[in-house]
Every structure is written in structure tokens, then in C-alpha cells.
Symmetry: none
Subunit: 530 residues, 2 copies
């Protein structure tokens, strides 16, 4: 009989501490939905009451499958639970569970909180009890637990016990500074289990020693049954335990897979690569090619001697089958893997080609050629669709952009203020006719977009409701030359969203290509006449 | 008495398998010298005889302190050692040590090598003995050792014993596919030690489960005394064990620091951050901000409540002192932080303000105002420095950009090819004089950058060596208006790198602001006259 193991995601709370990351409400909603796709048990959404964004995020439940969890501090010193606005905000949040945080290192209680050790314990007891009375599943993050345990084991244990005895479902042992190593984690968890049952214990590890994943595994081995972590290991400093890696290991590797049952099944696991990359897309970060399980290079073989052996029998060179996590094998000498990959991708966007169809090779060649120039189609389905349809000769030449020109000028205007004006001119040929449109915009890409869509003659009615919703830029160093990749997301009034990509050394050129693809895609999908 | 532990670097051999990495001879020489700076015991330089580059690299000894190690296969089946050109190339290399590799998984011997198990063992014995006779320190990498041990423990052990009995100083247990987890590593190493002494055993781990560092530590705990790894964890697929992380942990963390002696002393350790980043510089990769110990964010605190506690006593929020590894403490400026964050940040960039200084409030107000507009200073130290200096009235108005204009035009050129041309005009006022410069570029930002720096009169000599190294764009949806944030990284010939930020609805405007900050920062730092 396998035991149940629980995964708790804190991307939206501890992950928000990552340097350079600044979630919007839309980001948070999108990430909660990603987490629901991979079978996470608890999604910690943030800190309602601490800032307007998190309060708004908690105005409604944002997960369909995971327990939606609010985070906050135990009651303040000198206040009753009923009189603490922080507690009130937590209880008002539309959440399934509440995760309190309290210090469990005596030194921090003295120096950071400046309250008595007993007052801190009372705060834990009363806060946990209050949330439980209100029908929430309750947990306590014991901040600095491992350092606290080393300094004063009795007090650290007293904090854990206070929460457990007040009715907390989970008591989470946090390695807040990330300095604890696996053996120490195992030793201390073993001690704690003498006071709180393992099925009520969780682990929260940070990667400051490069051991967050191993620390989490060591804690489970020693008896805890909840693991906290983040997507792609986001988090303050060196990040939190990477839940993507842990989920794959726990589901696919022995003895874990045999010993433990997860909420995630085969389907959830197969979405892991896609979800991991979607998060990076959302944050406009380059995905880590070398990430365990989900990185683009995680199953790539470069060595010549290995490559031929991989072809003979992949299992002897791969510790797991990449398909289980939705990733792909990459053997640089082979077209065979590439072809089946492409077929799978085509099927996903609704194009079916027989595996012996010679056009499949032409599509593969074109994808390789484009990728070598810097194109990436993972986040640009509409451009990928057009690429394939162009190879198949199924995209009409609706119109031709003969010329465009964009000008941005900053100067002092008539009343002496510094202003910047962007304007664009686009010359389009359509059915033998020449149409020139000009427009101003709040930037060069906006001006170009407006000018391009101002007058497309008979096609105008097909794209009238098209709207730009996102624009992302990434610059690569390809040798000595920088190449710019632009990703554009468009939307129409039906709520349909599609993404296109453009690549060029020139950002305006790259943007224009993505804008053009966006329009052409809509014309194809709406069956505009050639 | 502490026991000696040996570090073996394979950046130049296994690290060369990293996707996208292609070392030149100059790269290899530079990296060998970096490794000498941080007290590595063995530097594996490559595979002499396998390719001209590695043969040339081994024409002379490339390390001053570390044992320079050549890598190659044991003798081929059906050949004597004396008649094997591969062995000859290894023996001719100007190396202190030779590391042979041989398969220790019976399945691979059958399928990949297609030779008998006994022939493989004879190859190990004869190759090790031959190298030892020639006065080299000899070691054997047992490829696929852990998978091999699980499939056929007797044969895997026979390979290890064959090398040891033939005189190998080190028998290295390789987790070639990276699929072994810490507990399994510990269990198998414990078994192997019954046949080969721990002081002759090494571990070679890969990061496919995110456990390469923990696996290495588990192996040492179980008795091995040599660790193989790479700088920054370079390597095929998910990379090798990160020697930078391991060196810091072994030198600074208990019980390791107490139990083991390393070649690296205090001075070598203090160079760790610099060496880690120098490698990325050499490879033209952005350093991982979140790398344990050496990442720019490894000791960065974002949360306001934490920040004030860090100021009170950093040791309670840092598992080691960043200075030991040559890194810096950072308290991030962000809307989550308050006055104590700002003061800590000011101190870091060399500006000291008393906590009651009224200008501190003005700085904080200005930071908040800017951040509400979309500025982010976490990745833009130079702009933050200028912001503060401007509030303090300490930035001279060196020159004034009166006007700029950028034009991007796409059209068919005289021979009928579609081309895009970007050009910029910048009008600068300096000491009452007007200077107009124009330039072409491969995009609008490049054209603007070149035009702006073409003629700055008496300031020209201060910025002649300035160079753009990175350009990043993020677009936010602020209601209906999109705001663009541009981050620019610049470098000068001293290797100094600084980052600036610009924000505007117009990407050209935002880029211009960041470019301008980059120049002004350099003028301030170089003490250019007002």
C-alpha cells in the first residue's frame, strides 16, 4: 500500500520574493491555473491584507482542484486574535486553507519580534485555533526551524507542538536560510517525529547549498508527508525547492514511485515540461535548458559515441523516458526523433500528415532552418501553424507590404515640453491597388500596428476586432551579432488568443513580422478569400 | 585530525559536452588558469589524440598548481597496449595524470562495445599498468557504475577492483546517466568500500535529478575521497556536479569543514565568486543570479520584514558570510522594502546617510515614485546610484540632448531585395555648442546608441571604451496603456559592468533613457569635469 504524499506550491508567495519578479493579478491567475494542471495539492496564493494585489487575488477562490491557501502571520503581540486586522484579512479571504508563519528560533523571537517566547507560543495556539474554528484547514510554517532547533531544540519543538496541539493539519519545518544539509535535515526530522506525527509534518527547503531537492527527499525519507516548493525553483536568493524536479522524481523514480501516491497522475505528469516553460514565458525569462527532466537539453546527447548508443537503446542512456514528463529526446545526429516530434506537434494544432508523407520532411527542414535563425515556436502556435501551412502551399498571398517606414522623434514642442512622437507609414499592394496608410502611436510598434491595420481593403472586416494584448522581446547574442526575437499575443472579440513570433537583428523588423503573422493567421482562420 | 579530500575538475572534458559550448584553445588555457586560482587538485584537460585541439592543448602542461590530467579510453579490443594509438597519444601528452574511462555495466559492454566481459577487464588492467609504468598517476572512470552495479554488482565491482589492483590511485564511480539518488549512492558506495579502500574512491555525479551536489556529499559521507565536477555545473544534459557549490560547502559548512582538509585555503575560496563569473564571461553567458554562494542574488533579501532584521544581525539570515566566497550582501530596493532596505543599498553602493537624515526620506519617495511608474532598480545598480546622486544634487548636467530622431525603413533596394535600414540623428548641446551626429545601426536602438556616442566633445575620451553587452525589454500592461521597461548592461575595457534602466510607453524613449544613464554613470564614476 502506497502512502499519500502532498505537494504544496508557494510560487505565488515565496516565489514572489525572486529578484526581478513582480507578479501582476493576471500573472497570478494564470500561474494558479498552471498549478492546477499538474496535480499540486495546495496552492499558496499570497498574503491577503498585506497589499491590495493579494487582497484582490483572494477575493475569490482561484484554483479548481488544489486547496487554495492564504498565508499570513500569527496574531500580533499584545492583540487578541479577534482584534488583529491581519488575522481578519486571512479569515475573510476566499481560501480553503490558511498557512500561518511563526518564528521558531528563540533568537529571532527576541531580536526580530522583541516579544517573549511564551507570547510567541500563545500567538501560534490562538491563531491556529481561530482559523480552525472558522472551518479552514490550518498549517504553520515554523520559520528558521532547523537553525532554531540547533540553537534551542526545546523551544523549536514547543512551537511545532503548539501548532499541532491547537489543531494544525500540517506543521511545516522551514529551512529559511537554506543552510541545512541533507543528513542534518534527516537527523532533525527524526527527532521531531517523536513529538509530532510524520503525517502532519512538512518540509520547506531553500537551495542555498544546492541541496533543496535532496533536503526535501531526505525529509520525506525521515517521515514528513508534505513538501513545499515552487515552479522551476523560483524564490528568494537561490530559490526554493524545485517542485517540477521533485514531482518528476517522486512519480517516476524508485523507491519513491512505489512507496508514495501523489495527486498527480500520468496526464498531469505529461504536462510538466509545458507548464514549466509556460511559467518562464509568462515571466519573460529564458527557460533553463539544463533543468532536470524539463530542460530542452535534459535528454539531449551531444557526444558522438553516446549518440549512436542512444539510438541502439535509449533506455540505457536515459534515467527516465522523456515522454513521461512531456519532454523530448534530442539526438543531434538523428532526423527520426525529429519527425515523430513534428508529427505530434502537427496533431496538436490540428494538422494530420502521414509519417511517410514527403512534406513532413520539408516541414522538418523548415523548422530547423528557422530555429537556427533564432525562432522559437513553443510560445507561438499561430506562427508555427502558418509555417506548416506555407510549406503545404495553403496560405494565400492576401496582400503584399511593399514598404514601411517608422519614425520616432523626441524634441521640445511649442510650449517647451519634451515630447516624443512615433509615426509610421505602410504601403500595401492588394489586388493591383496601392494603399498607403499613416498613423501615430505611443511607440514605434504601436504606430506600425495601427498603420498596417488602418486600411486593408476587402480584408478589413476580418481583422477589425483584432487587438494586441502582449508584446515580449528577447535579445540573443548569436556570435558577434545580437538577434532580437519578438513574441506578440493578439486577441479578438470572441476571446480567442493567438501568439506569433518574429526574428531579426532589427527590433522593428522582428515586430513587424510578428504583427503580419498575427493578421494573416486571423485571415486564414476566418477563411478570408484569396 | 582532518582527512584530505580531493577535487577533480572536468569542465574542459565533460563540461565541453554542454549544449551550445565549444571551447577554443584560448578558452581552455584561460579556464585552466581559473581552476588554478581556486585550489582544484586535478584539472582534466580533455582527450589528447581524439581531436587536434585537445592534442595541442596537451602539448604542454597547462596548470601550475593542479595535477594536469589527460582523459582517454582503455585499450581497444584485439589490440595490445603498445599497439594502440589512443594509448600512445595519452602517454605522449604532457600530463601529470591519466584518467581512463571504461564501461562497468555489463549490458553496455555487450551492446555498445560488443566485446566480452573479460576482454573489457583485461583492457582496464593493461591500460592502468602501462600508464603507471610510464610514471603517471592513474585513475579509472567506471562509466555507468551505479546502473551497472544494480544490474550486475559482481561485474561492476570486478571493473573497480581490476583498476585498483593494477595500481590505479583512484577508482571513480560514475553516475553517467544522472539517475541515481543520494540514498542509493550512499548504499552502493558502502558496498564498494568492502572491496576498494575509500581513500582510493571518487564520485562523478550528474544533475538529472537535481541531486548532483547532494550525491557527491552522500558519497563522501559513505567514504569516497575524490569528487569530480565542473565549474558552475557545466556538462551534458543537466550538467555535472557543481564544484563551485561543493567547494564552498566543504570549506565553510559543518561537519565538512571540520572533518576534511582541502587544497583550497581562505584566499582561494575568496576568489570563488569572481572565478565563477569569469567563466560565464568567457562563455558569453549571463551568470546565474540564483547560483548557490556565488549568484548575484545568493545573499539578496527582498522582503521588508526580513530586510530590517538583516540589518540588525546579518548572521541570523545568512547561512555563511558572503565575504568568504567573495560575494556581497544585497538588500533589494523594491516596493516591499522600506527605509532600512534603502540604507543598506546605499551603503553597498558606497553612499552613507544617517538614518535620521531627511534626504533619506526624499530618496525613498523618489524610489517609490519611480517604481510606481514601472522602474525596477534590482537589476539596475547604476541607475539607482544616479537616482540617489540626483536627489542629493551631485550629478552635473554634463550635456543636454536637445532632440533625437530615429527612422526605420523597410523597402526593396535597387536590386530588388527587401532591406531594412535604421538610422538616428542626435542633437546635443554642450558648453553652449550644438553638435549633431547621425549614424546607421542594425536596429533603431543600436543606431541611437552609435549616434549618441559619436561626438560628445570633451567627454568623448571618458566613454570611448563603453560597450553595450545586454539589452532586455519587458512590456507591462498598466490598464489600457502598455509601459515598456528596458534594461541595458554596459561594459568598459577594465571589465567593469553596470546596468541601467529606462521606462516609457515608447520603447525607443525607454532605451534612450537607459543609454543616457549608462553614459552619465561612467562620467560620474570617472570624475569627468562638469
Amino acid at each position: 500500500m502506497s502512502e499519500r504524499l502532498y505537494l504544496f506550491d508557494t510560487t505565488l508567495r515565496d516565489g514572489a520574493q525572486t529578484t526581478g519578479i513582480d507578479f501582476s493579478l493576471a500573472d497570478k491567475i494564470a500561474i494558479a491555473s498552471l498549478l492546477d494542471q499538474i496535480g499540486i495539492d495546495y496552492v499558496e496564493g499570497g498574503y491577503p491584507g498585506a497589499n491590495p494585489l493579494d487582497t484582490e487575488f483572494f477575493a475569490q477562490k482561484r484554483t479548481r482542484k488544489a486547496a487554495f491557501t492564504a498565508f499570513g502571520m500569527t496574531r500580533r503581540a499584545g492583540r487578541s486574535v479577534a482584534n488583529d486586522p491581519g488575522i481578519a484579512a486571512l479569515l475573510e479571504a476566499d481560501a480553503d486553507a490558511i498557512c500561518f508563519v511563526a518564528k521558531s528560533w528563540d533568537y529571532h523571537v527576541h531580536v526580530a519580534l522583541e516579544i517573549s517566547l511564551e507570547d510567541n507560543l500563545a500567538g501560534i495556539r490562538e491563531s491556529v485555533a481561530a482559523a480552525k474554528t472558522r472551518g479552514r484547514e490550518v498549517m504553520l510554517d515554523c520559520e528558521h526551524f532547523f537553525d532554531g532547533y540547533k540553537a534551542n531544540p526545546d523551544y523549536a519543538l514547543a512551537c511545532a507542538k503548539a501548532a499541532y496541539e491547537a489543531g494544525a493539519r500540517w506543521v511545516v519545518l522551514c529551512d529559511t536560510n537554506g543552510g541545512t544539509l541533507p543528513e542534518e535535515v534527516a537527523r532533525i526530522v527524526t527527532e521531531v517525529r517523536k513529538h509530532v506525527p510524520g503525517e502532519n509534518l512538512g518540509i520547506h527547503a531553500h537551495d542555498d547549498c544546492g541541496c533543496a531537492v535532496a533536503n526535501s527527499l531526505a525529509a520525506v525519507e525521515a517521515g514528513v508527508r508534505q513538501i513545499q516548493g515552487t515552479l522551476n525553483g523560483l524564490g528568494e536568493r537561490c530559490g526554493n525547492a524545485n517542485l517540477v524536479t521533485l514531482l518528476a522524481t517522486l512519480a517516476l523514480k524508485q523507491p519513491w514511485a512505489e512507496r508514495f501516491a501523489l495527486k498527480a497522475g500520468v496526464d498531469e505528469l505529461a504536462r510538466l515540461t509545458q507548464v514549466s516553460r509556460a511559467l518562464d514565458e509568462l515571466l519573460n525569462r529564458a527557460p533553463n535548458r539544463h533543468a532536470p527532466y524539463v530542460g530542452a537539453s535534459a535528454f539531449a546527447t551531444k557526444a558522438g559515441i553516446h549518440a549512436s548508443a542512444v539510438m541502439k537503446d535509449p533506455r540505457t542512456y536515459e534515467h527516465v523516458d522523456p515522454a513521461h514528463v512531456g519532454n523530448l529526446r534530442r539526438v543531434l545526429v538523428s532526423d527520426q526523433g525529429g519527425k515523430s516530434n513534428i508529427r505530434a506537434e502537427l496533431e496538436r494544432i490540428g494538422i494530420s500528415l502521414d509519417k511517410d508523407d514527403p512534406r513532413l520532411n520539408r516541414v522538418l527542414e523548415e523548422v530547423k532552418r528557422k530555429e537556427s535563425q533564432g525562432y522559437a515556436y513553443e510560445g507561438a502556435d499561430a506562427s508555427f501553424y502558418l509555417l506548416v501551412k506555407r510549406v503545404l502551399g495553403e496560405v494565400p498571398g492576401y496582400f503584399l507590404v511593399d514598404r514601411f517606414s517608422v519614425n520616432v522623434e523626441r524634441r521640445y514642442n511649442a510650449v517647451g515640453d519634451l515630447t516624443t512622437v512615433a509615426e509610421a507609414i505602410v504601403k500595401v499592394m492588394l489586388d493591383g491597388e496601392v494603399m498607403i496608410s499613416a498613423a501615430e502611436g505611443n511607440g514605434p510598434v504601436n504606430a506600425l500596428d495601427v498603420a498596417l491595420r488602418k486600411d486593408l481593403g476587402k480584408y478589413q472586416r476580418f481583422i477589425d476586432d483584432l487587438e494586441l494584448v502582449d508584446y515580449k522581446v528577447r535579445v540573443f547574442q548569436g556570435g558577434t551579432d545580437a538577434v532580437t526575437r519578438v513574441l506578440i499575443e493578439s486577441r479578438d472579440r470572441d476571446g480567442d488568443i493567438w501568439a506569433t513570433v518574429g526574428v531579426s537583428p532589427n527590433i522593428i523588423d522582428a515586430s513587424f513580422e510578428a504583427l503580419l503573422d498575427s493578421i494573416v493567421y486571423k485571415l486564414v482562420m476566418r477563411g478570408a478569400p484569396a
